[in-house]
Amino acid sequence: MIAPIAGVLFDGIAYGMLLFLLSVGLSVTLGLMNFVNLAHCAFAMLGGYVTVTLMNSYGWPFFATLPVAFVAAGAASVVLERTLYRRLYRASDLDQVLLTIGIVFVSVAVAAYLYGTTVQPISVPDYLRGSISVLGVNLARYRLFLVLVAAVITVVLIYGVEHTRFGAQVRAAVDNQRMARGLGINVDWTFAVAFALGSGLAGLGGALAIEIVGLDPYFGFTYLIFVLIVVSVGGLGSIGGSLAAAILIGIADITGKYYLPDLGAFLIYLVMVGVLMWRPTGLFGRR
């Protein structure tokens, strides 16, 4: 009896980690910069396509493509930030939503034009396939790897925001832009870097997601809803909150589908409604 429960919990955590990687960047940009970036998952998709292209057309090993996916998504986001997004930092939420949802539509069309609408093939190294058995619990290796990556990234992020000079600048710029500028902090530059890092993480998440969920041009839309749920449940701008919310949603989704298959797909929405009624700003939201 214990083994199936533990197995399902593990799958839930691993799925949550995937959601965390996809959504933490959005939590940062939305929470810190107050910018509603619905195109976040389009950057994740970009990372995915970078990995697919490098592996299939250039024969790169899977691991070598991951940093490139990160950098490519980050770089692309900086270009968009400099050319489009920054014009709307002071605009209304609706304007921001319209711009960024438009970018998602564009991303779908571009990806379909370049790669076709079929799912992209990818093959991860053999040692990441199959599963290992720990105390009778079946753990899929790739999911184990995901959990590991997400743990490392969480530690790095929390350290980066809480204990580095750059993190302090970002927090200062968010809390009071005018004061931060007055102190000589280059707020524009700080935001651009934070935005690039957030999108880069999405790119990495997109690359890591392919093995589990596949990649097609609609990625930017398919995962938008999950990512928004994680961000709103976790609370804007909170890395720990995103992690907690992602794990909660991941476990709710997987265990729900396992134990209550008829209800399974709706459970995450119930969880979201429940959490937001209890804490309207999310689990770790400050405002």
């Binding site: 596949g214 990649l215 989704d253």
Partner: protein, 392 residues
């Protein structure tokens, strides 16, 4: 007075040319999702249509065939209906054809019924579509037609019990019911079943449930696209490889785009389907060779065959009727027609206007290092079981 004579003469002349043109040309309006998420399906289907025209020319029984293409853009019954109306009223097409998606085919069927225009369904696979218009005829398949023989076959092989997993939408539920019915009728036992959301990112809980049921076999139906690879990887990750558990499915699970994402751990998956490009026949070899040549080496799939056979049906009907393509004459000629398709011998059921064809049972094998669906058993002259049950 004189002026009006000239005018009416002119009008008569115009009318004469118009009718002459109408008599010499047969217009076919193709409605498919040329853009959007289903664009690749249209590429295949239209590829089949184009290939038929390329092989057989665009003139038949003295009539020139003219094709008018319209983009439905996805699941859009309203758009499909409007396009069908415009094609009939404005472009004066004689035949409506194409239809990848069920809702679009249903909507256009209304137009076909009202305007008495023949409607050739080249893919959309829900059983009841053909009952919507007395002038529609289908050359593709229905899902119950695919999975019923699979259920019977599985029981005959001595498989005692099964766990079924289907996507939670019309075709999935059709597949679940048809398979379970056939399997139970042959004394098989269904140990459990799940219906999975269509937009399902992670299959692990469902696969775990199937595993925990300890069933000898699993039946799967999910739409082609991102999902086949994802669910197969979930099976492999949990050690549910085909050497331990029989994995039974309709052919979507192992179509070409899915195979690119799978490796040898999927060898042994058993699927039922009406067409695979590896089918062995002289006609199919030519078909595949020509299709590849015209489409950058892509292999044709069921949609290409649907387009190809749809055009064949239209050509044969025109030959038989000498060019009469009003709804009643077209359907009268199409009923009972039988021909050799790249997938084998197929026929149009005179009672239901639906297709009768052979279902192949295939095993996924590694042939020269590449995964391939290898046919090893078959059920011949399979009719759509749903309409067969309705008429009883």
């Amino acid at each position: 007075m004189r002026g009006s004579h000239i005018l009416s003469a002119g009008a008569a002349l115009l009318l004469a040319t118009a009718t002459a043109q109408a008599a010499d040309t047969i217009k076919i309006g193709l409605i498919m999702p040329y853009s959007g998420i289903f664009a690749d399906t249209s590429t295949q289907m239209d590829g089949g249509v184009k290939l038929y025209l390329q092989q057989h020319g665009d003139t038949v029984a003295g009539k020139k065939i003219e094709i008018i293409r319209r983009d439905a853009g996805g699941v859009a019954p309203d758009v499909a209906k409007r396009l069908a109306q415009e094609l009939v009223v404005r472009d004066k097409v004689d035949i409506l054809a194409g239809f990848v998606l069920t809702p679009n085919a249903m909507a256009a069927s209304d137009v076909s019924a009202q305007a008495s225009k023949p409607l050739v369904i080249m893919n959309a696979a829900t059983s009841i579509i053909t009952t919507k218009s007395p002038y529609s005829v289908r050359v593709s398949m229905t899902l119950p037609q695919v999975v019923t023989p699979l259920g019977e076959w599985a029981a005959k092989q001595g498989i005692k019990n099964v766990f079924t997993m289907v996507s939670d939408y019309g075709p999935g539920i059709d597949a679940e019911q048809a398979f379970q019915k056939a399997f139970k009728a042959a004394n098989g036992e269904v140990l459990g079943s799940v219906r999975m959301p269509v937009n399902n990112p992670d299959f692990s809980p469902y696969v775990q449930k199937a595993k925990d049921s300890n069933a000898q076999s699993v039946f799967v139906f999910i739409p082609a696209g991102t999902q086949p690879a994802a669910i197969m990887k979930a099976f492999v990750d949990r050690g549910m490889t085909p050497d331990k558990v029989k994995i039974l499915a309709s052919g979507e699970l192992t179509d070409d785009s899915a195979l690119k994402n799978l490796d040898n751990s999927a060898v042994g998956v058993i699927t039922a389907y009406h067409y695979d490009h590896s089918h062995k026949s002289a006609l199919n070899e030519t078909f595949v060779k020509d299709y590849r040549a015209a489409n950058k080496g892509e292999n044709p799939n069921l949609l290409a065959v649907g387009g190809y056979d749809g055009m064949h049906l239209i050509y044969e009907v025109i030959k038989k009727t000498g060019g009469k393509v009003d709804g009643a004459s077209f359907i009268a000629a199409a009923k009972g027609m039988s021909w050799e398709s790249p997938r084998g011998t197929i026929a149009i059921d005179p009672e239901t206007r639906d297709i009768i064809q052979t279902m192949y049972i295939r095993r996924l094998e590694s042939v020269n290092g590449k995964l391939q669906n290898v046919e090893f058993d078959k059920a011949e002259r399979v009719k759509d079981p749903v309409k067969a049950a309705m008429s009883k």
